[in-house]
Symmetry: C2
Subunit: 246 residues, 2 copies
């Protein structure tokens, strides 16, 4: 790993990959990158990404806005750090687990939980993962397929498929307020009932009528997620059997 890695890379990546300079003497830092990132994550979790401003973050940390810039080159940089830190560590399993489906399911469910806890991740992640945090998750997912006969390209394709599904499902779920809030908009289901004109949107109208959008009685909120995931993994199973037969 040569040390000229990121001459043109965002500052955050250089730090995350351990190329921080060993600063010695000087004033004792009252702030630290870890504290800043942790506070930023908490703020985004509690009040949404739109509420995350340098000023409000500084307020929470009890420091002046400009103090943050000693640890972070800018807001983009901060957001990269947040993306790397928030997901935590992926589930552990060996290099070639016997039960690929169980492993990958666990991975997906845990990642789903991450997205639900930090909905802003989905709004932020526009660039491909390049930090150690996200690459660890990616590696874990690839490892879950280590015991299958799939070739590397197919494995990656499967992992991306699962990743996109997890992300999309979480984003959809967090964007729909579960209950008709006191003040604002009625429930999504009720709205669709009014808007889905059977002449204009026949299939949609039938779905609404069948109660697809009504909250399921006694169902866990991630039941729909699990059902879709199972469809998806059925397809992966087909590909695996095909590769095994070939």
């Amino acid at each position: 790993m040569p040390d000229d890695i990121g001459n043109e890379l965002p500052h955050a990546l250089n730090v995350l990959w351990g190329r921080a300079k060993p600063k010695g003497r000087g004033r004792t830092p009252a702030l630290s990158l870890e504290r800043i990132v942790a506070a930023a994550i908490t703020l985004a979790d509690e009040e949404g990404l739109a509420a995350l401003s340098m000023a409000r973050l500084a307020e929470r940390l009890g420091c002046a806005p400009m103090s943050l810039y000693r640890h972070v080159t800018g807001k983009d940089d901060l957001q990269l750090f947040m993306l790397a830190a928030a997901p935590g560590t992926p589930p552990e399993f060996g290099t070639a687990p016997a039960d690929w489906r169980g492993s990958l399911t666990r991975w997906a469910v845990e990642l789903f939980g991450v997205y639900l806890r930090h909905p802003w991740i989905a709004q932020l992640a526009n660039s491909p993962p390049m930090d150690p945090g996200q690459l660890a998750w990616l590696d874990a997912a690839l490892r879950s397929l280590g015991g299958t006969p799939l070739d590397p390209r197919a494995r990656f394709s499967v992992v991306m498929l699962v990743l996109h599904y997890v992300r999309g499902a979480a984003q959809l779920l967090t964007s729909i307020p579960a209950e008709p809030e006191e003040g604002a908009d009625r429930a999504y289901a009720a709205l669709l009932t009014e808007l889905a004109d059977p002449d204009r949107f026949p299939a949609l109208a039938r779905a609404v009528e069948a109660g697809v959008f009504d909250p399921q009685a006694g169902a866990a909120p991630d039941d729909d997620f699990r059902a879709g995931l199972d469809h998806l993994l059925d397809g992966v199973g087909v590909a695996i059997e095909r590769a095994a037969g070939a």
Copy 2:
């Protein structure tokens, strides 16, 4: 369809669903909602979502920034209009096409094209679709499954699965600059080669080594997309056969 539909809804939705008031006399409008939305879409396409500001939009339209607010209540409103207009109309097929797989594939490929032409859609769409434009796409996808034995809930689940995949794949593709641009960062593949330490990320290192991230010689850019889509539809096929057998 009662006319008190959207007392608490965003202004854009009321307009889109045809509840615009029949204004009569007055000064002849030099601006129109259509022109504003079209210009906003062009701007976002050409310079990215970040470059879309009311001031820059007004500049392009040759009007003062505040003039826009006569047609749109705010920037959020404008973005709703953009989301409704940009996708255009979905592919046409009957209520119960015989070839569900062909229909759904066509739908997915066309939607993929929409996302590639307008990458900002993926960054914007945080709320569930409620405008006629997006509901038309949703309806078309549901119709593609009209001839299958899947129940309504399963159909919706499948459509969401495809939608999430299309969105995620397009977002990933547009976020990676194909070639190492002159100025900035090297290609993603080269970067991963340096960062994927085999001890820390064994599965990822193996994938990199196998050339998963290298551009395929003589392959269309959407080949990877089609491959993933086929995996996905295999899973749908399994579900359909299961439902047919039951």
